[in-house]
Each structure stands twice: as structure tokens, then as C-alpha cells.
Symmetry: C2
Subunit: 435 residues, 2 copies
């Protein structure tokens, strides 16, 4: 089969850790890929910023290299975009579509912000854009959502979709180290970027949440509509308090559908009960927990980043797109028929664990309770632990866990608690999810 | 879109717990399914053994019912086969293919034993057979293996693919109950059949192992080639001993590829380390752990049985097959290009935990050690616990965990240990996997 078919011409744009592994797979697994796709996948070129630099990489003949991503994109049947970021990735993808090529990409930032433009352009050109690697690295999650669950109604997704933050939180939990120290170690180990903002402030997770929500809810969810909070404000006290109540802290991407009312998509740290399947996702691993009406609870687990794992998803898409070019037919494109409103995150219903530093004196609990009651937020548990007596004042820590309530009401509770006379400080506020 | 397209005619064969949920989804989600498939999915008939009996089910108009499965199969674009077992399911599927219909089925027993005949017939007829629901119920696992991982090389699969046995083992573990008692309770709760043989003796898991291995290794693996051991011989002592060494007992379906030499597929109970992701799969849940060269470790988790979860997978396939009929193109069919030999399970390399009841006297350990050494099996750990002094003989329990060794050598060790003078009884033998 493989020898009789004309080869499918593949261009790779970008030659970083993922690009190199994609090229390696194309070379080392050429025979397998030809059988699976129905024709050989032939590398026609690799676009890099500076071809002279990449020449250091011995495994690739320099003749393949070019600095003209857009030009190369026009010479292929399938373009693999691994440049990342917005430009020149966006222009190169649009050029590929214009030239009749399909595209495989791992670019979550571009899809989160410019997805609809690209999906429309692909549809107009009658070609495909596949992007399994954009969420969850090696984990098959978008194909299962878009195809396997096409007969079901997805109601909620809770995802650990950023390995850097999961690694940091995991080490804070298991080793009792502070955020800054673990982050520094993660940077040394290559698990965190020199500028860790995209990861630790939740931007990366927000892009992925937008992609997940769009696919799951057949609705366009732009990344700007995703409410976002990172993990840089978390302290070791938060982690320790989580453990005391049987939880672990995870940075979650949460996408919820509220019937036909709309969807809410948010990224923030949350307490997850130890027994929840997401609680045992350790280190740099990712996992996406999906709730659907008929299927019930599902979880997809694996390596969410790294050159080799990500290349698995990229080349899997490449084989699928190649098959479609050979046998006809297109995979399911963007599906937005539901067009549900994206509701403000203030309408989310969640629970809070609030740690308060209070004066250890009679009437404190009554005053605090009144604040909750005034916003119709009911309390599930209260735990008081004796604090230190610094500055000549007897202090105690009050850890309150609420029942479910709207975000806005919870926000007002927290604001009012700060103004409460007996409350010295609101020491920590964290949502509780996954119950 | 949905109103302009001619409907896709769907016939459902079999109307048990899964069939009813499939029909319910077709009715309740009709509009969503039409959008996702590209045309309405119209139920044209339901084949049942005795139409008069099923009339009790109020939600279905009796006019849909027929006892002629094969006749109905010829009148549809897509046939959903949920009869189960070999005949008349096999004949009805072949009739559907002859009439140009594609088939969606959840019938693991039929696929495990007659898969190749059906795949060939579908290919000859230019139609499709999809069967995501045959393994892991609602869990998307076959599509990820066949499509998402098409760029990768799968090396090993460890699956908890039978909910009944996982429920029984889990309750034995958490509640300290014996096999017979838990099985009886499982039968009362509807988690186990009146005749539990197919589940507890591993036949069901073996069919699923054959399907998983065939898909993952691009090789025909008939169910007869799957080595199989069930859980009915396990005692509470086995479960307790597992806990003592930091393990839990799971019935695993294991499919391994040994490079280009061949594949080994087996089903048996095994000790899994508590930290392994499979160890926390509780109750009737299923999970399939996949190792691939580029992706690394992946796990897919969810409900492996039940009407609603299984219907999710069935209708997901239905939407995919409907799309293909409308837009052209076929999904990847059976892939057997590797055609690897299926090696005898005796060639598997595993570890054993062996519990021996021995006389508590000098020289026992030396004698036992000699047996292991004589078959070149090395010992990882030995733990001796004082036993009772029944029958006037001082006894002790010796728990030996081996290093990795070929099954055949391990089998000889166990046989020779039974003959060893100081060994009163080989009280338990169980493999150790997942490390």
C-alpha cells in the first residue's frame, strides 16, 4: 500500500522541542505511518527563525531548512504549525489554507484567541485544522470530546491542564516548601519557563479551558471570556489548611454548562477532596475529568507537555488528516450550533474555604456568622484553632467552609469579613470543587 | 441543516438495558444528534425476541417492534446491534453489510471470536463497523487507540475492563469480606449476573483484551490466544497479604508488545502497587492504562458497563458513522499490517508473590531459596510471619516476592515448592504487575 500511493507532503513550521520530536517520528516511524495513513508522509521542509542555528541538530539535513514559514506552508499537503504564539503562526496557517493544505497545530494561545477566524478559514477552503496537542499534550481529549461523546451531553469539565502549576502545587504539598522555592527548582529542572507568568498566572490554562469549553458545549468561548486566577498568591498555609480538611490544592480549568442558560468557564486554584480522581494526579501529569449525562464520570490522564508526548498527539492528527486527504471526507470541524451565552464567572456556584485570623474573644463567631447570613451564604463547617498571641493580642484562626453559593454572594461575604471588627485578617480564600 | 437533509435510517437490534437507553437518546437528543451528524437519525425499527413482552415499555410505540432482526437490518442505513452473543447477532450484522448498511455494536464476545470475519465483510461491502462500547463501556478507548495514537507505538496496555470483578475485589479489600459473600451481594445489586462465570472467570475480560490488543498492535489477536485466569480462587488471605506489601489486587487484562517478536495477551488477577493510577480505580469503574513510546503513560477512566454509560459510546459511534455516510470517507477499519505472532503466555515476563505455609524450623529458608535458584529466579523480598501451631506442628508463613522472570520458570518454581519437604502448602500465588 505504502509504496504505490503518492506521498503526502508535510511541512513542519518551528523546530523546538516538539518540532524535533515530530521530525524524529516522521523519520523513525516512516513505515508504520505510511501503513496507517495509507501513503508515505514525506517531510518537505522545516521552517525555523534562523536556519544557521538549527544546523547544530545533526539528525536533520540542512537542505530541509528555511526561514520562510509562509512560503513553505504553500508547498505542502499538510502543515504542522509548532511556532507558537500569534504571529507569524497565524499568517502561515492562513497561507496554508489558501494553498489548499490542512493544518495540524499545538498552538493553544492562537486557538484560544483566534480560533474562530482559523476554523472559518479552514471551512471556506475545504480543508481541516486539527489540534489535539493544544490541550493535555499527549492525552487524547479533544477527539474523545468531539467524536466519542458526540452522542452525549457534556455538563462539566474539571481539568488539570497545566503541568508546571501541578508540579509546583504537588511539591508544596508533599515537601512543605514555599511557592517561590519550588518554582525556582522547577525552572532549574526545565518544568517552568524563565518567565513563568503564562503558567503560574493561569493564562495557559485559560486558553486550554476556552478550547475545551468550545468543543464540549458547541459554543464559541473566547479566551477573554474565561475568568482567571493563578497560583502565585498561594501560601504554604493554604496548602496545609487544605490537607487538614482532607483536600489537595489543584489549579483547575472548569467549564460548566447550565442547561440552555449558558456556560461558565473559569481557571483558579481549588481544593479537591482527596478521594476525587483528580487529587491523585501528581507532578507534571495532566488529567481532564469530564461529566456527561449518559456516560457519567470520565477521566483522561497522561503527560500534558514535553517534546515526545506532544509529538504523539501531533503525529496522530497528522495521520488522521492524511487519511482524510486520501479517502475523502472531513473530520468534524468547529461545532457551534448551540451558541450558548458565556455567563460571567460571578454567576458560578461554588463553595469557599475561608481562613480568618480573629481576636480570641467572646462574640467573634457570632459576628462572623452574621456576615455569612447577611448574604444568604450558609456555613458547612467551622474549625477554630488557637493562634499565637503576638502583639499582646490573643489571636485564633477560624477556618470556615461554606455550602454552595453564587460567586457574587461569596465575594461580598469576603469583602464584609475584612471590615468586621473582630477579624484581624482574611488569611486565605480558596474555592472547593469536585464534590 | 438538520431539516434539509434526508434522515439516516437507524435500526436497533435488541432492546435490553443498553438498547432502551440508545432509543431514549435517539428520541430525547434528536435535535442535538441531527446537528452533530449532519442529518436526523430516524429510528426505523427495533428487533426483539418477543415483541409482545417489550410492549410493556411505554416509551416505545409498539409499531416499531419486530422479531425479525435480519429483515430489519436490511432496511436501515445504520444497524445498532445490541443482541449480544454469537447468533443471531452475527447473521444480522452480515445481512446489514450485504444490504449496504454500516453497523455499530457493543458485542465484545462476537468481536473477540468472529471479529476478522465481520471486519472483512464490512470492508468488502464498503461499509463500516464501529464498536467503541465493546471495551470499557462509556470510556473512549478504541477511538483514541486507533486514531489519536496512530502516530505512536503502543507497547503495553493494562486494563481493568470488567466492573463486576473490580467491584468484588474492591469490597473484599475495603470490607474484609470473602469472595462468595461479596459475589452474592453483587448479584443482589445487579452488578453480577445470576451466572457470573463470564465475569469472574475472566472470559469477558479476555474478549476485551483481544479487541484492545488487535487494535493497539495492528495484529489479529483471537480470544483463544488470550491466556485467562479468573478471580474465583482468590481468598481473603490473598487480599490481606497484598495490602501488607503495599498492593491491591485487580483483575487485569494485559497486552504487551515485544518489539517485532510478537505480542502476549493475558487476563489474570495481579498485585498492583498502591501508587499506580490503576490502584485507585474503585467499585464498578473501569480504567485502561496505556504505555506508548512517545506519549508515555496514559489512562482512560470511567464507567465500564450499564445501560446509560454504554449508550453514550454506542450513540457516539452512530453519529460518526452517520457523518461518514453523509460526507464520504470511511474511518480507519481493521489494521493488521504488522501481523505480529501471538506468543504463548508462558513467554510473558512477570513477578510472583508466593505465600508458603512452612514448618517453623531451621533450614527452611535455605531449602526454599534453593528452589528459586534452581530455576534462575531471583528473590526480591522475603517476609516471614509466625503462624499458628495447629496439629502440633509449628508453622510459619513465608511471603516471597520474586524479581522479573519468565512465566514458565516461575511455574516450575511453584511446582517444585509444592514438593519441597519443609513446605506444608503453597497458600497463594499471584502475579505482580504495574511497576
Amino acid at each position: 500500500m505504502s509504496s504505490s500511493q503518492a506521498p503526502i507532503r508535510v511541512a513542519v513550521l518551528g523546530c523546538g522541542t516538539v518540532g524535533r520530536q515530530v521530525i524524529r517520528l516522521l523519520q523513525e516511524s516512516a513505515s508504520d505511518l505510511a501503513w496507517r495513513a495509507g501513503a508515505p508522509l514525506e517531510l518537505v521542509g522545516v521552517a525555523v527563525k534562523d536556519p544557521a542555528e538549527t544546523g547544530l541538530w545533526q539528525e536533520l539535513d540542512p537542505a530541509y531548512l528555511t526561514d520562510d514559514a509562509t512560503g513553505l506552508a504553500r508547498q505542502a499537503d499538510i502543515v504542522v504549525e509548532l511556532i507558537g504564539g500569534i504571529e507569524p503562526a497565524r499568517s502561515a496557517i492562513l497561507a496554508a489554507f489558501e494553498a489548499g493544505a490542512s493544518v495540524v497545530t499545538a498552538n493553544k494561545a492562537l486557538l484560544g484567541s483566534h480560533g474562530p477566524e482559523l476554523y472559518d478559514a479552514a471551512r471556506s477552503a475545504g480543508v481541516e485544522i486539527y489540534f489535539e496537542a493544544a490541550v493535555g499534550g499527549a492525552i487524547p481529549i479533544l477527539r474523545p470530546i468531539r467524536e466519542s461523546l458526540a452522542g452525549d451531553t457534556i455538563t462539566r469539565i474539571l481539568g488539570i491542564v497545566n503541568g508546571t502549576t501541578n508540579y509546583v502545587l504537588d511539591r508544596m504539598t508533599t515537601e512543605g516548601l514555599g511557592f517561590a522555592e519550588v518554582l525556582r527548582q522547577a525552572q532549574e529542572l526545565g518544568y517552568a519557563e524563565a518567565d513563568p507568568t503564562a503558567d503560574v498566572e493561569g493564562f495557559d490554562a485559560a486558553s486550554k479551558a476556552a478550547i475545551l469549553a468550545s468543543s464540549a458545549f458547541h459554543t464559541r468561548v473566547p479566551v477573554d471570556a474565561v475568568s482567571r486566577q493563578g497560583i502565585s498568591h498561594l501560601t504554604l498555609d493554604d496548602i496545609v489548611a487544605a490537607r487538614a480538611t482532607g483536600h489537595v490544592v489543584k489549579l483547575l480549568a472548569i467549564a460548566e454548562r447550565r442547561g440552555s442558560e449558558g456556560v461558565i468557564v473559569r481557571v483558579h486554584p481549588a481544593l479537591v477532596p482527596r478521594k476525587h480522581p483528580l487529587a491523585s494526579v501528581r507532578g507534571v501529569f495532566n488529567a481532564i475529568y469530564v461529566e456527561a449525562e449518559a456516560a457519567g464520570e470520565l477521566m483522561f490522564y497522561g503527560r500534558g507537555a514535553g517534546g515526545r508526548p506532544t509529538s504523539s498527539a501531533v503525529v496522530g492528527d497528522l495521520v488522521t488528516v492524511a487519511r482524510h486527504r486520501l479517502t475523502g471526507g472531513l473530520g468534524p470541524g468547529e461545532s457551534v450550533y448551540l451558541g450558548l451565552p458565556v455567563l460571567p464567572a460571578g454567576q458560578a456556584v461554588t463553595r469557599l474555604q475561608i481562613r480568618l485570623l480573629v481576636r480570641d474573644q467572646p462574640g467573634v463567631l457570632a459576628g462572623v456568622s452574621k456576615v455569612f447570613a447577611s448574604h444568604a451564604v450558609s456555613i458547612e463547617t467551622v474549625r477554630q484553632t488557637a493562634g499565637d498571641g503576638a502583639n499582646g493580642v490573643d489571636l485564633a484562626t477560624l477556618t470556615v467552609v461554606t455550602h454552595k453559593a453564587p460567586e457574587t454572594a461569596l465575594g461580598r461575604v469576603v469583602a464584609d469579613l475584612s471590615d468586621e471588627a473582630t477579624v484581624v485578617a482574611v488569611a486565605g480564600v480558596i474555592r472547593v470543587e469536585g464534590e
